[in-house]
Amino acid sequence: MLPELGQMALILALLLATVQAVLPLVGAWRNQPALMAVARPAAIGHALFVTLAFALLAYAFLTFNFSVAYVANNSNLSLPWYYRFAAVWGAHEGSMLLWVLILSLWTVALAIFSTRLPQVFYARVLGVLGLLSIGFLLFILLTSNPFGRLLPPPPNGADLNPVLQDPGMTFHPPVLYMGYVGFSVAFAFAIAALLGGSLDKPWVRWARPWTNVAWGFLTLGIVAGSWWAYAELGWGGWWFWDPVENASFMPWLAGAALIHAQAITEKRGSLPAWTVLLSIFAFSLSLLGTFLVRSGVLTSVHAFASDPRRGVFILIYLGIVIGGSLLLYALRAPKVAGGKPFAPLSRETLLLVVNLLLTTSAAMVLLGTLFPLIGDAFGWGRISVGPPYFGTLFIALMTPAIMLMPLGPFARWGRADGRLLIRVAVQSAVVALLVGGILLFADSRGTPPWRAVLGGLGAVYVLAGVFAYALKRWREAPRGSRYPAEMLGMLIAHVGVGIFVAGVLLTTAFSIEHDVRLAPGQTETIGNFAFRFEGTTHVTGPNWTAEQGTVDVLENGAPYTVLHPQKRTYDQGQGQTESSIDPGFMRDLYVALGEPLDNGAWALRIYVKPFVRWMWGGGILMMIGGFVAATDRRFRLRRHDQEATSSASPGDRPTPREDSA
């Protein structure tokens, strides 16, 4: 009974989404307040029914309702309750439901927090979000119903894919989707602005905090995914330029570009058309990401088996959303130009250059990811694009962006002081070289690899620039307004980039990875650490059994720690490697069991990975930066915003800190 109720709830949600989409949009078009007023209650009702459906599916999982096919396929009696809950989004149907749930939650957040938006605009934004939801609800109801019955019900279910039975995996998809779907808000704002026919309203300021928060979530989602790959895939890698990873990275790049473009448009009124276009791109890439992961058109190391019919549906949906919004853009956007003029050397130009670098990177990743499909379509054979393609181009494109990073805050809007910028760049470079020289002198291991040099110099260069700007603000700005939230967020995120650069390049350069054959009692030495394999014992978990290895780690001969990597076999037969990691600020010790060989010997992966945590730390700082910036008081809607909409463009609005830098 209850699962059918879930299905009914989804159908009702679809009806309410249709109401939420159609009536307010018509109302905004015909200027009928009564119709526009429907937006808010419809959005809330829609969210309630989606939540109800989600809760009923979760309940089916928690109560072992194997008469629901999806539950029977993805859980069983011995699966612990927290993984049964996470199993709700462990496979296709449920993860689509999660997508819609998060979309409806974002919509409700918007409906509640943005009631001070002008009514026409508010109605259009909610209407556009309703349209997006219709597509996904139809998709679930027509192709991916999570409530389908399996009669007679089996006595026990299959199991959740063992690679997903990990704490990292339980919260990776929701957080990632928070990011993906969050870009729908920026998208809806942009479309609402286009529908309104004029982009010179302060819509960008209203969109900015939402974009920042969405980007922050996306960053965290990618970090969690990378961490999961590192710990759970059992071979110590953290990024593979795999289609599934690229799918989340493309919207991230577009989102980073969007954040910077929104800053230009909001502060100066320049380039509104570009900002609108990026809003469309960021969300389109999120949809494309969902499509790539869910349709299975690409072979991936994270391959999820899937159904091509669903791919066709998403492809049509993608075509309608992207094609429709670009058409609207083509019809409406060219009418808009403006903003204040800016000199060739100005903060606008620097931000624009960074924008181009980020979007080019996104395009490059897109090309590399889709190239196997293109090659297939043109009959060039079965092609894959190797990771060096992405690595090389990404470093080439991001190096100039890193070089410009410390200069941005120092550059004035409109016209920047070239000599000041050169001085900042030289100062940062000198600091970087000094620190690099000292470290080189202190380290006796000889010439470090070029990657380490590049990473160290790049990181110190960025950090020195950020620090110099923080110092300048401390000296020059009055107390209490030295670091407004928006600026603080920017500084934190830029520090994050510096730490990230250091982490990536240092860990790539200094990681030592030994794949070895060890019999019990044998020792493998890496640097100061000796790893002695003591053999394996048999252990049992809730729904698995495992061979658990014992590895004594000695540092300079003294006992340091003991690691217990596992080779699990889940009850339904699938194997899974559980690495054992000794985490550290400066380095990780990483041990994973490979495969059993003869006479009790095992193949082991024994890795020392210096600075690997810095990479995720940098990502987390970027996320915090995004969240902090979103709390800026300037973004909060005031009553005067509504009155001002008809008169002033955002660039004309005097804001206390407009020329702060």
Binding site: H302, A305, M364, R382, D515, Q574, R605
Partner: protein
Amino acid sequence: MNPKRKRRLIITLLAVAAAAVAVTLTVFALQQNMNYLYSPTEIDAGKAPAHRTFRLGGVVKEHSVVRDGNSLMVHFVVTDRFHDMPVVYRGILPDLFREGQSVIVTGHMQGTEFVGTQVLAKHDETYMPKEVADAIRKAKEAERAQAAKQAHPLPQGR
């Protein structure tokens, strides 16, 4: 040409130049890193490059996995059920690597042996990568065509 137009021209030219550099770099990087996938049958027919990295797709032949006694060297045979390709690989095989399961090996030819640098097996055991399925299907078709030819040496004469 007035100064404003001149500046626009310069900006346009710079943008075109930047785009040209980007496109050149991208095409170059793509060419360097494109890996084709071949089945043992295609390699047997001489389609695979002799000195370049490519990917070998197929099924790990039953009872073909032989481990070296005191290193991580392993020999196995990848088959599409029509032709076999011996593979040598040094390292740890993925969790889902199993005889009778599909696999994609990246590497290059050395004599008659394929030297693998990376072995991929799929997370989902019931799932055969589309590429491998295609390769096996193609091999089957080629074999059938061959058989048809042998059965009817002059098909056009009928």
